[in-house]
C-alpha cells in the first residue's frame, strides 16, 4: 500500500520527573486500518494516547496528521484535528445527565442514540445521571459519543478490559466496521484474541520505545510477545493444570457457605460453598449481580436475606472489618477503589495493619518493612517510580492491591477481575500466585471477565445470570464455549452461535493464550 499515513507520530518522549514514561515512541496509522498498540505494563501506551490526544504535553516529539505537523495542546484541539480517544477511565461528567454530557461536547444526539443501540444497550435513558450508570455501560457510552462525531482516528485505550463478553463482542464488531469504512482505529488491549480478530498491524512498545511494527498474521503472537518482553522470559503457554495438581479437596466443613443470599433486586437466592485450598471461579456477564455478591461477602453492603457461614459459624458483616476479622479479604477490580494514590507503596500494603483501634499506637517499623518487602518481592512489584503509588503503572498498582492481603496473610481472598488491564507476563504471575495460595490451604473466589482464565486458575466454576446462580460445574467442563453459553443463561449442552470470540475457528485459534 502506498497510502500516506493518517497519523504519524515519531520521537515522542515524556518524562515524569526522573522517570521516563516514553523515550522514543513512534506510531504510524494508515487510513482504514485497525492498529494495535501493544506493550507490557508500564510500557507507556496510555501515556502515548494521552499525548496524541492533547491530554498531557509531550517533552519531545513530532506529530503529523495527514502529513501536516500539528501541535495538539488540548483534547479540544485533538477533536478538531479528528482524533478522538476513549480513555481507560470514563470521561462522562459524573454529575451531569447523558444529554447534558452530549451537549457539552457538541455531540449530535441522534447518531449517538443509534450507536448506543448498535453497541447493544437498548434501555438507556438520556436523562440518567452519569454517576448512576454502571461502569461498563459508561465505557460503551464513551465509545458511542466518540463514534457519533465520526472521527478520523479513534483511539481506544483498553476499551474492552472492563466489558463483559457480550458488550465486548459488539464493540469489536463496530470497531471492525470503522476500519472497513476507511477510518483508522488505534486499539490497545492485552487480549491477543481481540488483537488477532480485529487488527491489521500492531506497534509494540517496550520501556517507552517503539520496538517494532508487525502485520497481524496467524502466528505473529509469539513475535509480539518477544518484542514486548524483550529479555524477560515468560512462559506463555500454561497448560490447563493436570489432574494431579487439581486434587479436588473434599473438606468436611467448607470455609465459606452461602445460603440463599439475596441483595436487593440485584441478587437472589445464591447458595454455594467455598472450601479451603480451592479457587472457585465466578463467571457472569456484566451486571448480573456478581458485584453485589462480592460486596456482600466482603462486608461492604448488607445482604437483604440469606445467610453466610464462615467455618460453620453464621456471620453477619456490618462493615468490611468484620469480614477481615473472619479472614476474608476483598480485592476490588477498580484499583482506584483500593489504593491511597498519594501514599507510598509501603503504607498502602501496610494499611490493614493499622485499621483496628488497638493498632492505632506506635508502629514497629522494622517488622513492617520486613513484611512489606516480602510481599513486594513475592509479587515482583516494579517500584522504580518510588514514593507515591500513583506514579506506578497500572499493572503494578494492581499488584499492590493484592500484595496487601498477602502481607496480611488473609485466609480467603475475593478477587474481582484482578487481571483487568494487565500484561501477559503479570497475568501469569497472578495465576501462579492464586494457585500457590490455594496450595497453601487458602481459598480464593475469583471473578474474571476473561473466560479463558477460568481453566488456568479455577477448580470449580460458579455461573451467575440475572442475579441467580444458574450452574456450578467442575473446571474440566469449563471450556470457553461452555462458559459462554452458561453465562448467557443457556442450559449446559445447548448450542448457539454467540459471536466471533466463541467461534473456535476464528483467527484466535493460534493465539498463544488460546486453549491448548
Amino acid at each position: 500500500m502506498t497510502t500516506s499515513p493518517l497519523l504519524d507520530a515519531s520521537g515522542v518522549a515524556k518524562n515524569y520527573g526522573a522517570v521516563a514514561a516514553l523515550r522514543n515512541a513512534s506510531l504510524s496509522v494508515l487510513p482504514g486500518e485497525v492498529h494495535a498498540l501493544m506493550g507490557a505494563n508500564g510500557a507507556g501506551k496510555s501515556t502515548l494516547v494521552k499525548i496524541l490526544t492533547g491530554a498531557v504535553p509531550a517533552n519531545a516529539g513530532r506529530i503529523l496528521i495527514r502529513g501536516e505537523a500539528r501541535d495538539i495542546r488540548s483534547p479540544a484541539a485533538a477533536r478538531r484535528a479528528g482524533l478522538l480517544p476513549v480513555y481507560q477511565e470514563p470521561s462522562l461528567i459524573p454529575d451531569l445527565d447523558v444529554l447534558s454530557n452530549l451537549r457539552l461536547t457538541s455531540t449530535p444526539v441522534e447518531p449517538f442514540r443509534a450507536w448506543v443501540r448498535e453497541l447493544g444497550i437498548l434501555d438507556l435513558d438520556l436523562r440518567d445521571t452519569a454517576r448512576d450508570i454502571p461502569l461498563a455501560v459508561l465505557r460503551v457510552l464513551d465509545l458511542a459519543r466518540a463514534l457519533a462525531v465520526e472521527p478520523d482516528v479513534l483511539l481506544l485505550d483498553e476499551m474492552t478490559a472492563a466489558l463483559p463478553a457480550n458488550l465486548a463482542e459488539k464493540v469489536l464488531e463496530v470497531v471492525r466496521r470503522q476500519g472497513d469504512s476507511g477510518r483508522a482505529v488505534i486499539f490497545i488491549s492485552h487480549r491477543f484474541v481481540e488483537i488477532s480478530a480485529l487488527c491489521d498491524r500492531a506497534t509494540v512498545l517496550r520501556d517507552g520505545e517503539t520496538v517494532g511494527v508487525v502485520d497481524i498474521v496467524p502466528g505473529v503472537e509469539e513475535k509480539i510477545v518477544e518484542l514486548m518482553l524483550g529479555t524477560r522470559i515468560v512462559k506463555t503457554h500454561v497448560a490447563a493444570r493436570s489432574a494431579a495438581e487439581k486434587a479436588a479437596p473434599a473438606p468436611s466443613s467448607p470455609r465459606i457457605a452461602v445460603h440463599n443470599l439475596r441483595v436487593g433486586t440485584k441478587l437472589g437466592d445464591v447458595s454455594f460453598d467455598l472450601a479451603d485450598g480451592e479457587v472457585a471461579g465466578v463467571v457472569a456477564l456484566e451486571g448480573q449481580g456478581q458485584d453485589e455478591l462480592f460486596a456482600a461477602l466482603a462486608g461492604s453492603i448488607r445482604p437483604s436475606g440469606g445467610t453466610i457461614e464462615v467455618d460453620g459459624q453464621p456471620v453477619k458483616f456490618a462493615h468490611p472489618i468484620d469480614a477481615i476479622r473472619a479472614g476474608i479479604a476483598y480485592v476490588p477490580g477498580d484499583r482506584s477503589e483500593a489504593l491511597a494514590m498519594q501514599r507510598s507503596v509501603r503504607e498502602n500494603i501496610a494499611l490493614p495493619f493499622s485499621a483496628a483501634f488497638r493498632n492505632w499506637g506506635p508502629i514497629n517499623m522494622r517488622r513492617e518493612r520486613a513484611t512489606v518487602i516480602g510481599a513486594i518481592e513475592r509479587l515482583q512489584i516494579d517500584t522504580r517510580a518510588q514514593g507515591e503509588v500513583q506514579r506506578l503503572s497500572g499493572g503494578n498498582q494492581q499488584k499492590v492491591t493484592i500484595a496487601r492481603w498477602i502481607a496480611a496473610d488473609a485466609r480467603t481472598i475475593l478477587c474481582f477481575d484482578p487481571t483487568r488491564g494487565i500484561d501477559v507476563g503479570t497475568k501469569q504471575e497472578i495465576y501462579k500466585l492464586l494457585r500457590e495460595l490455594a496450595g497453601n490451604g487458602k481459598s480464593v473466589l475469583f471473578y474474571t471477565s476473561e473466560l479463558e482464565e477460568v481453566q488456568r486458575v479455577c477448580d470449580r466454576v460458579i455461573v451467575i445470570f440475572g442475579g441467580k446462580l444458574v450452574d456450578i460445574f467442575p473446571v474440566e467442563e469449563a471450556d470457553e464455549p461452555a462458559l459462554m453459553r452458561a453465562a448467557y443463561g443457556l442450559p449446559r449442552g445447548a448450542k448457539a452461535d454467540i459471536g466471533i470470540l466463541a467461534d473456535p475457528t476464528a483467527h484466535a485459534s493460534d493465539a498463544p493464550e488460546a486453549r491448548p
Binding site: 518524562n15 498519594q342 499506637g361
Partner: protein
C-alpha cells in the same frame, strides 16, 4: 515541538537544588522565614533581639497548636472552624471557675466542653457525613451562644487568671518562653503521631481515599471522631495557654486565630484536599504569619494598605512554596 531527547545524565545545579528543596520542603519554608526576619531587621535595625524572639515565639505557639488542629483535620480532607470557640470557652471557664474551685476541678470543667464539641463534630462528620466546614461552623455558633448564656451566670463571681497559666503563658526562663515547656512535647507528640503511629497513617489514608481504607477494614467514624476530639482537646489546651498569655477573659478571645490557623497549615504545605502535609511545616507557617504580623504593625502605612500587603504576601508565599515543592 523539538525532537531532542532528554538526557538524564547531566543535571544542572539549579535543578539539583530545586529537587533538593522539593524533597525537603522545610528548607524553602525556613528560607522564607529568614527572609522575612531579615527584612524586618533592615526596616527596624536592632529589632531582632532576644526579647523580640521570645515574644514572637510566645504568640506563635498558640497559633501553631491551633494550626496543628487544622493540619490533622485537613489531612483527612476536613477543617475545624470550631477551634476558636473551643479555645475561648475553655479559657473563659477556667478563668471563672478557678475563683471558687480547686484548679484540677476547674481544669476538668474547662476541658469538658472541648471534648463535647469534638465529639459532636466527630459524630456529625464521621457518622452523618456532614461537610466539616458546616459542621464545625454550626457547633461553633452553638458553642458561642452557650458561652454567652454561661457568661451571664458568672458575671457576679468575677474572673481570675491562675498564676500557673500566667507563668506558662508570659514567663521567660533563661531567654526561653515557658510556653515551650508545653509546646515542645506537644509538637513532638503530634509529629510522631502523624509519622509513626497507626492513627497518623489512617489520617493520611482516609484523606487520600476513604473507600480504600474502608475495604482495608478502617472504620471511618472511629478515626474521624477520635480526630475531632483530639483537635478540640488541643484547642482547649491552647485556650488555657492563651488566657495565660493575654490575661483577659473575653468572649471572643481566640476567634481571631481561626483564619490564621488555616493559613498557617496551608503555608506549611498541608493540602486542604487531604492526604498530604505534615506538622513541622505548619509550625514554620505559624512563625511566618506571626513575623509577618509584626512586620506589618511596624510599617508606617494606612491600615488599608497594610491589609492589602498582608493578603498579597500570604498569597505570594504559598504560591512560591508550591512552585518549589511541585518541581519534581
Amino acid at each position: 515541538m523539538s525532537t531532542s531527547a532528554i538526557s538524564p545524565q547531566s543535571v544542572p545545579f539549579g535543578r539539583r537544588l530545586k529537587r533538593l528543596m522539593a524533597d525537603r520542603p522545610l528548607i524553602p519554608l525556613v528560607i522564607l522565614l529568614v527572609i522575612l526576619v531579615v527584612i524586618l531587621q533592615i526596616l527596624r535595625p536592632g529589632i531582632v533581639n532576644e526579647r523580640w524572639i521570645a515574644n514572637t515565639i510566645k504568640f506563635a505557639i498558640p497559633l501553631a497548636i491551633l494550626a496543628g488542629c487544622q493540619t490533622m483535620t485537613m489531612l483527612t480532607g476536613g477543617i475545624d472552624l470550631s477551634v476558636g470557640t473551643v479555645a475561648t470557652i475553655s479559657a473563659f471557664i477556667m478563668a471563672t471557675q478557678i475563683v471558687n474551685q480547686d484548679p484540677a476541678v476547674a481544669f476538668l470543667l474547662a476541658m469538658m466542653p472541648a471534648v463535647l464539641i469534638g465529639l459532636v463534630n466527630g459524630i456529625g462528620v464521621g457518622v452523618f457525613r456532614v461537610h466539616p466546614l458546616i459542621m464545625t461552623l454550626g457547633t461553633s455558633l452553638i458553642g458561642t451562644g452557650c458561652l454567652q448564656v454561661y457568661q451571664r451566670t458568672v458575671i457576679a463571681s468575677g474572673a481570675k487568671i491562675p498564676d500557673f497559666l500566667a507563668w506558662l503563658g508570659t514567663g521567660v526562663t533563661w531567654g526561653f518562653p515557658n510556653a515551650l515547656l508545653l509546646f515542645v512535647p506537644l509538637a513532638a507528640l503530634i509529629v510522631f503521631t502523624l509519622a509513626r503511629t497507626g492513627f497518623g497513617r489512617l489520617l493520611y489514608a482516609v484523606g487520600d481515599n476513604e473507600r480504600a481504607t474502608r475495604l482495608s477494614g478502617v472504620q471511618y467514624w472511629q478515626v474521624i471522631t477520635a480526630l475531632y476530639i483530639t483537635s478540640s482537646v488541643l484547642a482547649g489546651i491552647t485556650g488555657l495557654l492563651y488566657i495565660g498569655l493575654i490575661k483577659a477573659p473575653s468572649l471572643s478571645l481566640a476567634e481571631p486565630l481561626v483564619l490564621p490557623s488555616v493559613a498557617a497549615a496551608v503555608i506549611g504545605g498541608t493540602s486542604i484536599f487531604g492526604g498530604r502535609g505534615g506538622y513541622t511545616g505548619t509550625i514554620i507557617g505559624a512563625l511566618i504569619l506571626t513575623v509577618l504580623t509584626t512586620l506589618l504593625t511596624i510599617l508606617q502605612m494606612p491600615e488599608g494598605a497594610r491589609r492589602i500587603l498582608f493578603g498579597l504576601i500570604v498569597l505570594f508565599v504559598t504560591a512560591a512554596y508550591l512552585r518549589i515543592v511541585e518541581e519534581r
